[in-house]
Amino acid sequence: MFRFRREDLYQMNIINQYIYDICLTSLFKKIKRIFKQQKKFVLLEMVLTKFVEVGRVVKINYGPQEGKLATIVEILNDKRVLIDGPTTGVQRQVIPIRRLTLTKFNLKGATRGARTGVITKAIKKNDPIAQYQNTLAAKKVAKKALRAKLTDFDRFRVMILRKRRSALLSTQLKALRKNNAGGKLAAQAKGGNKKK
């Protein structure tokens, strides 16, 4: 695919204008299309997408509030921010950025220095924390926590169920192999066994 530098794109924009002036509409359209593609490509090329900004939902990595989510309310300097998490039990506090992980979610309606009440209202309207819980990362954490809580009997049951599921899968696989002798194997659908 094409790889254009930003300077070239500016050049293309200028060319666009020029060609428009000449009214070669079809050529102009073609160039516009290319430009759009390149612009999209440039946007996708952006390596950094999560910014420390007001409204960014963050996860606390370190300290007594480890694992909780909060929103950045104010940026103090290049190392500290003011965060607040009224719905997740995080008190409004100054915290070093080093102790945070940025999530890809933003709290809409959070303004700079907003008070806790404003933040709570914004969360009620559009909850990014609930969206975060649906991400793979959050689910992995939840799974790990659940596994840590298993009792001895639970661990035994999980072991037996995994064995059963594996046995089911292997019989299915055998049947498929038999039917598709020499052909490509279709993707297997996982069994319906409950697995923690």
Binding site: A148, D152, I160
Partner: protein
């Protein structure tokens, strides 16, 4: 005036150097150990002895402080047994023991009989035939009695165990530690 009672005992036996003093237990009756939150019906994991790793059901604490447990015998081969609570991990799994009658069993149930002691006395080469016919007969009836007690105690337990799925298999399996298990992190 009556003589003042001596408060300090003066011994009249002085030990010579080459006499070994064996451990003298000062307290005659065993003190029942405080049960650390182990409830009748709870599944315990035995940590030492022949049945290491076996999961057994706790019935009651005996007067000596030891715990009375049973496999049940049909499920994992552990009979009615006394177990020290220090060598046990209590799990959070509980079995319903309302129908189980273990009140008859106490420390005397586990006392060694004359015949057993005699058999042990004779040492390594002793054979069953060393007992008299009468002793053999009593031994036989004693063992029959034990088998019956085991059965009667286990009967109610097994019906309770069968109600929960996979509990029977769980009790039949041994608890093991693998390379990656961290026992200090496990929740029992």
């Amino acid at each position: 005036m009556p003589a003042k009672k001596r408060t300090v005992r003066i011994g009249n036996w002085y030990k010579s150097d080459d006499e070994k003093v064996h451990f003298i237990r000062k307290r005659k009756a065993p003190r029942p150990s405080k049960l650390r939150k182990i409830v009748p019906g709870q599944v315990l994991i035995l940590l030492s002895g022949r049945f290491q790793g076996k999961r057994v059901v706790f019935l009651k604490q005996l007067k000596s402080g030891l715990l009375l447990v049973t496999g049940p015998f049909k499920i994992n081969g552990v009979p009615l047994k006394r177990v020290n609570s220090a060598y046990v991990i209590p799990t959070s799994t509980k079995v319903d023991v309302t129908g189980v009658n273990a009140t008859q069993i106490d420390d005397d149930y586990f006392k060694r009989t004359q015949a057993q002691r005699r058999k042990n006395e004779q040492g390594f080469w002793a054979k069953r035939g060393e007992l008299t016919a009468e002793q053999q007969a009593t031994e036989k009836t004693r063992l029959e009695g034990k088998r019956n007690t085991q059965k009667s105690v286990d009967a109610a337990l097994i019906t309770a165990i069968k109600k929960t799925q996979l509990l029977k298999q769980y009790l039949g399996a041994r608890f093991t530690i693998g390379k990656t298990t961290r026992p200090h992190e496990l929740v029992f």
